[in-house]
Symmetry: C2
Subunit: 317 residues, 2 copies
């Protein structure tokens, strides 16, 4: 039986547990364009009760192993989970399994776990819109937990990870790691700090550094103070504590009203981003018109200045 290309049909199938339908929906989002938009629109209105957890940190910090441990925690409670592994720097795509992902593939036979890698396919900044759309689909088809793991600590990765309900920042016991985290803007986005590989020397120093930086940042009264959790993902040490920390943060967001506020802010950012895209398309369309050529000639001949030209073209929309 061939798989449908109708987003509505695919959403129904995915909601019923059809993994191929879900994979196709995510591929459609990754490919971008009008179809990706349509999938996002339908999924948004369907909605869901999903909760997203973002994990970010330097390459090699052990995010993937930690993600795998979180999957274990969630599954041991009988709940379902989806994982999006986001790599803005990689041109590879199509749900291809990245090196680190392989370890998680022991999970691939478990119908309660869905793992997907997403990469850019060249369109710059594409993931900043594709990721929330993918989350929306996973939410709409009934995944109660969505883990977003970003591969690096570049601006895009940090933004993507920060777009979760709970953001976990992973560092290692290395001299200066805490300081690096601070520089990369991770202090601002962290809801929970994890010192992974905490059995290595220097873990206590890293904790002290993080503590100090948290002291120095003005949290204000009543605000959430990010806990610092030590883990050894390779042995599973600390995973239960991390899971408990995520639950605690979630309860804090829900009782304080911050969850609604956080999601509203995310929605605002997304609407603004979409407006920019739509407008960029308009500008692209305008430059292809004969009007543009005529106006450009007027500017070259100094009958018009570039600002007047831009205004004139925009007025013709």
């Amino acid at each position: 039986m061939t798989l449908s290309r109708d987003p509505e049909v695919l959403l129904d199938a995915a909601a019923g547990g059809d993994r191929a339908a879900l994979a196709r929906l995510l591929s459609m989002i990754e490919a971008g364009g009008e179809m990706a938009r349509q999938v996002g629109r339908l999924a948004h209105v369907r909605g869901g009760d999903g909760y997203t957890v973002g994990l970010t940190g330097a390459p090699g910090s052990g995010k993937s192993t930690l993600t795998d441990r979180l999957i274990g925690e969630i599954r041991s409670r009988g709940e379902e989970v989806a994982v999006l592994a986001i790599d803005p720097s990689s041109p590879f795509t199509g749900g291809a399994i990245l090196g680190d992902r392989v370890r998680m593939q022991g999970r691939s036979t478990d119908p309660g776990v869905f793992i997907r890698s997403m990469a850019t396919r060249g369109h710059l900044g594409g993931l900043s819109l594709a990721t929330p759309t993918a989350v929306r689909v996973l939410d709409a088809v009934g995944r109660p937990w969505v883990l977003i793991e970003t591969v690096g600590v570049g601006q895009v990765e940090v933004e993507i990870a920060a777009n979760a309900d709970t953001t976990v920042v992973v560092v290692n016991p290395r001299w200066g790691d805490a300081v690096q985290a601070n520089k990369a803007g991770l202090m601002e986005i962290a809801d929970i700090f994890v010192i992974n590989k905490a059995d290595r020397p220097g873990a206590e120093d890293t904790r002290r550094d993080l503590d100090l930086m948290l002291e120095l940042s003005d949290l204000g009264s009543g605000r959430w103070r990010p806990p610092i959790i030590s883990t050894v993902a390779s042995t599973g040490e600390g995973s239960a504590e991390l899971w408990a920390g995520i639950g605690e943060h979630r309860r804090h967001l829900e009782t304080s009203g911050d969850l609604t506020e956080r999601r509203s802010r995310r929605i605002s950012g997304e609407i603004i981003e979409i407006m920019h895209r739509l407008i960029e398309e308009e500008v692209g369309d305008l430059t292809a018109t004969t009007d543009f050529v005529a106006v450009q000639a007027d500017v070259v001949e100094r009958r018009l200045d570039p600002w007047a030209a831009a205004e004139k073209l925009l007025a013709r929309r």
Copy 2:
């Protein structure tokens, strides 16, 4: 006597040789905003016969000393020149004299030379619009030569230098310098290569590397082949050859019609850039409306999806 703030009055004064008026016009451009636009509009329509030469290359390659030598070549022919030293990475501004500029200040008592540093003042990407506007003013007030020196080899610097009529790329005789130039995208933008500090070991190797890379790049028949000129800016060796090379490239552009095409392309880029800015302002305005708040709430409550919301807001412009 206090200096006017009226761009029209300032342009007249600057055209008559008033350096303070010219400096104020450039400060107005640097400050951005509506006044900068107005200065640019007026200057564009006035026009002029100015020719721009961009110089780019890694810090320490000797661009400033080379620029000083070019000033000498131009002045020895009795012509006037203006220099814009662009530093996108520096927050310093207001025509402040950068370290390297000091050397050129022997020129500051010469009324035929006008030197100005420009920096960003924080508004991201501001220099990509401010630089052509500044060139336009220098052109309109009658400077026949405008040299644009960029401080680094980042994307913005390269773009700015490439926005000249003739672009000079400066490298040094160092192992790998030619390869670095290639990586930074300098091969594509160079009209002339300068190997400065050519009295140092390795100059011939660098020339060979550049030659090879030019061979490999498909220039096409009839197209300009960038000459490779060796200089020792500190002694003045090769400056006459560089000046001759610039003259030759200029003649090539003028006789082939490429000058008009190049300037038209620059104008197109500028119009598109201005359209984007105007639109960003529109989006900024829209997000401040009560409409935005209402539409955002609709999306949060899932009565509307983010794409429909963006379209709805844009339709209200």
